[in-house]
C-alpha cells in the first residue's frame, strides 16, 4: 500500500511494470534459449521435444496463415461451455431441492457420492457408445464431471446456518421462501461460484478427453492426429489452444464472480455502492 495518494505518471508506471516483470522475461528467455540450443545441438532429439522455434512456426501456421485451429477451437469451447451449463443446471437444482427438503437430500447424496468417487473420465467409452462420435458425447462427459464440485459447493453454501440472521428473519415474520430468497441463496453465492470455477475447468477436461477417445472435430482430435503423425511441434501448438480456452473460461467466471458476488471485494463494493446511489437518484427524479 502506498502512503501518498499522488498519481504516478504513466511513464513511471510503465517503468515500474517493466522492472517488476524483467526477472520473469529473463528467466523465460533463458529457458527457451537453453531448450532451443539443446535440441539444435542434438542433446535432445527433436522427435521427442521439438525446438521452440518449430513450435512457433506451427503456431503461425495453425493460427495465422492457415487458421485451421479456429473451427476446432470453437467446437471444444462450445462443448465445454454447454456441458458446464447442463452440469451446473442439474447440480444447482438438485442442491436447492436437497437444501429445502431433507428426505430428498438423503436420497440424492449417496448417488452424488458414488458418482464422485467413480473416476468420471472412466465413463468415456460408455458415454461415446451412448451419445456417438459427435459433440453430444463430449457435452455429456463435460456435464457429468463438472456436476459434483458444483453440487457439493452449492449445497454446502445453502445449508450453512447463520443463526443470528435467521433469528432476525424469524423475528420479522419471514416465510421460508423469503428466508431462502433473501438470506440463504445470496449467502451461498460465494461458495457456489467457487464450485463453478472448479466445474468449468473440469468440463474442459471432460470435453478434451472425450475428443481424444473418439471424435471428428475439436482441439483434442487435432492434437492426437498431430501426435500420431509425430508432428510434435503442431501437437504442442494445439495444446496451447487448450490453455487459451482454459484461460477464457476461468477469467469469464472470475469476471462474473466479481460482479455478482461484489460484496467480497473492496473495489467492487465501492463501484456497486456508487451504482446504487445513481439508481436511487434516477428514481427519485421521476
Amino acid at each position: 500500500m502506498s502512503v501518498s495518494d499522488q498519481p504516478i505518471p504513466l511513464s513511471g508506471r510503465i517503468l515500474d511494470i517493466g522492472v517488476r516483470f524483467l526477472p520473469h522475461f529473463v528467466l523465460f528467455a533463458v529457458i527457451i534459449g537453453a531448450w532451443e540450443i539443446s535440441v539444435a545441438t542434438g542433446l535432445i532429439t527433436s522427435i521427442i521435444i521439438p525446438r521452440p522455434s518449430a513450435i512457433w512456426s506451427a503456431i503461425v501456421e495453425l493460427y495465422i496463415t492457415e487458421g485451421t485451429i479456429y473451427r476446432h477451437f470453437f467446437i471444444t469451447l462450445t462443448e465445454a461451455v454447454v456441458g458446464f451449463a447442463i452440469g451446473a443446471g442439474v447440480a444447482v437444482s438438485l442442491a436447492i431441492a436437497s437444501s429445502l427438503w431433507d428426505p430428498f437430500r438423503r436420497y440424492v447424496t449417496p448417488y452424488a457420492v458414488v458418482l464422485n468417487v467413480t473416476p468420471g473420465i472412466a465413463l468415456t467409452p460408455v458415454i461415446i457408445a451412448w451419445f456417438g462420435y459427435g459433440m453430444g458425447s463430449k457435452i455429456a462427459l463435460a456435464a457429468i464431471i463438472s456436476f459434483f464440485p458444483i453440487f457439493v459447493n452449492t449445497l454446502t453454501g445453502l445449508v450453512q446456518v447463520d443463526e443470528d440472521r435467521e433469528e432476525l428473519f424469524n423475528s420479522l415474520g419471514a416465510s421460508n421462501v423469503q428466508v431462502f430468497r433473501k438470506l440463504r441463496a445470496p449467502a451461498a453465492l460465494p461458495l457456489m461460484f467457487a464450485g463453478f470455477k472448479i466445474g468449468l475447468t473440469t468440463a474442459l477436461i471432460g470435453a478434451v478427453v472425450a475428443e481424444f477417445a473418439q471424435a471428428t472435430d475439436g482441439v483434442g482430435v487435432l492434437m492426437s492426429r498431430f501426435s500420431f503423425q509425430l508432428n510434435m511441434a503442431a501437437s504442442l501448438a494445439t495444446l496451447l489452444s487448450m490453455t487459451v480456452i482454459g484461460l477464457i473460461l476461468f477469467y469469464s467466471m472470475e469476471f462474473l464472480d466479481d460482479r455478482i458476488v461484489f460484496w467480497r471485494r473492496e473495489s467492487r463494493r465501492a463501484a456497486a455502492s456508487r451504482a446504487r446511489a445513481r439508481t436511487w437518484a434516477a428514481q427519485a427524479k421521476k
Binding site: R165, L172, G173, K182
Partner: protein, 261 residues
C-alpha cells in the same frame, strides 16, 4: 429535543405483561427463567440487568414470540404472544446486516418481508438513516462501515418495522465505551422521539440506570427477577447525572440486589 413524558402521561397503560412466566431448556434440566411477573407501561424504558446466564435474552425472546414459555403467559397489547408479531421488534448484539445490501436496503428489509416497499417506505427508511446520523452512508455496504455504524443501521432497521415495542439485547455490547456511551444517548433521544416502549438488556449497571425508567435486576441459577427499581431521574438526562448522589444511590441498590444472592 422531545421530552420523555409518555410514561407519566399514560401511566397505568400496560403494553407488555408477564404472569408466572417460566422457561426451561434441555427437557427441563436447565431452568433459564423462573416465575417472572412484570407489567411494562406504554412509552417506558425498561432495563434488564444481571449476570451472564440469568435469562435476560431468554426473556426477550419470549416476549418477541421467538420461543414459547414452558409455563405462564405473556400478553402484548392485551393479546397473548404466540409467535413473532408486527408490534414487536428486536435488535441483537450483532448487527446482523446482510452484506450484499446497502444500508438503505438493509433498513428496508422488514418492509420487503411484508410486501413491496412503496416510495413512502423508501423515504421513511432514508429519514430513519438520517435519524441515526447515517444519511451520508445510505448507499454503503456493511463492510464499508464501522461496528458502531453497523449498529446504527440495525437500529434504523428496528425502527423501520414500525413496531412500538422495541426489544434490545445488548445492542451496543460489542462496541468500545465511547461509541457505546454516545449511541446510548442517541438511543434515548430516538426512543423518546418515536414514542416507543423499550426493553433494554445490559451487563452494565450505570448504563441500565442512566437509560431507564425502571431497572429490572435479575439473578441467576435459576433465572429470576429479583427486584424492580424505579428510576425517578428527570429527563432529558445529561451524562453528568451519573456522578450525582441520587444516581449513585440507585447504583448501590442494584449492586446490593445482585450481591444478595
Amino acid at each position: 429535543m422531545v421530552k420523555h413524558e409518555q410514561s407519566m402521561a399514560a401511566a397505568g397503560d400496560v403494553v407488555v405483561s408477564g404472569l408466572n412466566v417460566g422457561k426451561t431448556f434441555a427437557a427441563g434440566t436447565v431452568v433459564a427463567l423462573e416465575n417472572a411477573n412484570f407489567d411494562i407501561k406504554r412509552g417506558s424504558f425498561v432495563s434488564l440487568v444481571g449476570p451472564s446466564g440469568c435469562g435476560k435474552s431468554t426473556l426477550l425472546r419470549l416476549v418477541s414470540g421467538l420461543i414459547e414459555p414452558t409455563s405462564g403467559e405473556i400478553e402484548v397489547h392485551g393479546t397473548p404472544v404466540n409467535g413473532p408479531r408486527a408490534d414487536i421488534s428486536m435488535m441483537f448484539q450483532k448487527a446482523t446486516l446482510l452484506d450484499w445490501r446497502t444500508s438503505l436496503e438493509n433498513v428496508l428489509l422488514p418492509t420487503e418481508i411484508n410486501g413491496t416497499p412503496s416510495k413512502a417506505d423508501k423515504n421513511r427508511a432514508l429519514d430513519l438513516l438520517k435519524l441515526v446520523g447515517l444519511e451520508d452512508f445510505a448507499f454503503s455496504f456493511p463492510a464499508q462501515l464501522s461496528g458502531g455504524m453497523q449498529q446504527r443501521v440495525a437500529l434504523a432497521r428496528l425502527l423501520q418495522t414500525g413496531a412500538d415495542i422495541l426489544l434490545l439485547d445488548e445492542p451496543f455490547g460489542a462496541l468500545d465505551e465511547f461509541t457505546r456511551e454516545h449511541l446510548n444517548t442517541e438511543l434515548m433521544r430516538i426512543v423518546a422521539e418515536v414514542r416507543a416502549t423499550a426493553i433494554f438488556v445490559t451487563h452494565n449497571i450505570t448504563e441500565a440506570i442512566f437509560l431507564a425508567d425502571q431497572v429490572v435486576v435479575m439473578t441467576s441459577r435459576p433465572g429470576r427477577m429479583a427486584k424492580i427499581i424505579n428510576v425517578d431521574l428527570e429527563r432529558p438526562r445529561p451524562l453528568s447525572i451519573q456522578t450525582s448522589v441520587e444516581f449513585n444511590k440507585l447504583v448501590e441498590d442494584v449492586r446490593e440486589t445482585l450481591g444478595a444472592v
